[in-house]
Amino acid sequence: MTAFFDVLLGGVFHASVLFLVAAGLQLVFGVQRIVNLACGSFYALGAFFGITAVNWSIAHGAPPWTFLPVLVIAGIVLGAIGPAIELLLRTVYKRDEAFQLLLTFALVLMFQDVLRFFWGANPQQLGNLSMSYGKIAIGAVSFPTYNVLVMAASVAIAVGLGLFLSRSRYGRILRATAENREMAEALGADVRWIYASVFTLGTMLGTVGGALVVPTSAASLDMPVELVVEAFAVVVIGGLGSMRGALVGALIVGLTRAAAISFYAELEVLAIYVIVIAVLVARPAGLFGKPVE
């Protein structure tokens, strides 16, 4: 029974982090129609920078328990690279999607070495810091408090994003621009600013996700390319452009992966992709996506 809960909670934790990255992807795709292959690079950047930030803050006397807020702040601060990257992508907005995709691939390649340059080739960790919040025990099951906090944070962000997109003025303008760019522009929306801010928000979600995951695993140079695989599975299952899809897709992928690892390790990624393909056969647009083609 404990094993079952471990798998469940482990899967949901992984899903929480995946959701953040996927939400960033969906936001950017929904508004700008760009699929960002470099989402994994932002994630890895968040992870490495998060470690640096925590180590720095502890070296400067901050008590260990502050590492969670430090990670979050580090992730948000990193969002500052968003506008610069968006400017680069702006050069290919009017072109065929293939070129936009390729440009994000170029970013992936470049970021690999940027990470290598600043942090070297070896994986990095935060040691046992995640345990400094202790564990939460419910009956016979105990789970690190840190993980629970991250899951809660993810839910809070999901709810916040949802409310923000549906209720706020900015959210409405976003949705209008996503629906019909020319019309939104004609109605006075500053599309350039919207694109820049959306991309930055999407980037931030990725960097925060990477920062939050790092206490429980390691930051490595494999992260950028490996995350893309799962993040894409999430958005394909959930449906490109849909936030709800990101949530449901993340849960499906997170839980499948956790289950696969514990029962039959070889099946890990295989299982996820079988589900991806099955969903696409049954519902080509994903579970919540709008049908295209």
């Binding site: 070495d113 394909v236 990624v269 083609e293």
Partner: protein
């Protein structure tokens, strides 16, 4: 039909003839190191000729075609080191057939979509295969992969030659011959009625349907042909390195295929070939110059995408047009 000016055709043919002669003489005039680089260049040139039938001619961008390169490599490995089949001709045939068979379900599913969805779906299939190769250690050798033993060419095993001598000797010329033959075949296909229909599908699939073109079926056929070519490229790569490993199927390898094609020029027939050679040599030089060669490659791709989307051939065409005007 559309007239490429006869002089230009003649010039093109002359160029190609010179290139073939240079390539044939290369092992005798260049340093061994550079000759060994030409082998993966041949491999990618062939693979990309196939890939570009799908991308440049039919307009479908796949981010998973490394899957078929990997199938070619693993077939060569399994046949040579596990089944004992050493004939290069048989290996090429079996690998390409295997790739086409594998491509059928992938294509059937994927051609229902276009554009970004097609790209993501093909990426998914590529990674599915990668995870299979990576995890099923007993079958596929896991992350080490499977060894590829030296094949026989036309029945001859060239026992007296060491590995390098074999590769830059008989194998080199076999690959050159393959590249030329497969190139001619692809040229015919692209300029055939079938090729014309593929171009129509790329330009405007709706109108193409109204002119009686079976869009999905032809996309499928283009996909199958591209898989065939990629597998042959994979065989060459595998024989060259002596190993089939799962990273051949990783999505970033698929990304490199696209990179090379766009680098050379996706809108021209020879673009992919130019791209393959350029990329292989560029990557090798960069790796020797700096440990941050990935960054350099990425930056190169960014520059191509932003400034020279029609690639090197596009640049050359623009330059010759300007020169002609003077």
């Amino acid at each position: 039909m559309s007239g490429a000016v006869p002089q230009r055709r003649g010039l093109l043919l002359a160029f190609v003839a010179v290139a073939i002669v240079v390539l044939a003489a290369f092992p005798h005039i260049a340093a061994t190191y550079y000759v060994t680089l030409v082998l993966p260049a041949f491999a990618y040139a062939i693979a990309l000729l196939g890939f570009n039938l799908l991308f440049g001619t039919t307009g479908l961008l796949s981010f998973g075609h490394a899957l078929f390169v990997a199938i070619g490599a693993y077939c060569a490995a399994v046949l040579s080191s596990r089944v004992g089949v050493k004939s290069l001709e048989l290996i090429l045939l079996a690998s390409s057939v295997a790739a086409v068979v594998a491509a059928l379900p992938v294509a059937l599913l994927s051609v229902r979509y276009v554009r970004i969805f097609f790209g993501i779906l093909t990426l998914a299939f590529g990674m599915l295969f990668h995870s299979f190769l990576f995890k099923f250690y007993d079958l596929t050798g896991g992350d080490t992969g499977i060894r590829v033993l030296r094949p026989t060419i036309l029945g001859m095993d060239f026992k007296e030659l060491d590995k390098t001598a074999f590769l830059i000797g008989p194998f080199y010329y076999a690959c050159l011959l393959l590249a030329v033959v497969l190139g001619v075949v692809m040229w015919r296909v692209v300029h055939s009625p079938f090729g014309l229909h593929l171009a129509a599908i790329r330009e405007n699939p709706i109108k193409a349907e109204y002119l009686g073109v079976r869009v999905r079926r032809f996309r499928l056929l283009a996909f199958l042909i591209s898989a065939f070519y990629c597998a042959i490229g994979g065989v060459i790569l595998a024989v060259n390195t002596g190993q089939a490993d799962p990273e051949l199927a990783y999505w970033t390898h698929s990304g490199e295929l696209v990179f090379m094609t766009v680098l050379g020029g996706f809108a021209s027939f020879f673009g992919p070939v130019v791209g393959a050679f350029t990329f292989v040599f560029l990557k090798s030089e960069l790796m020797g110059l700096t440990q941050y060669w990935r960054f350099c490659l990425g930056a190169t791709l960014a520059v191509i995408v932003i400034v020279f989307p029609r690639g090197l051939i596009g640049l050359a065409k623009d330059a010759s047009r300007k020169a002609a005007k003077r």
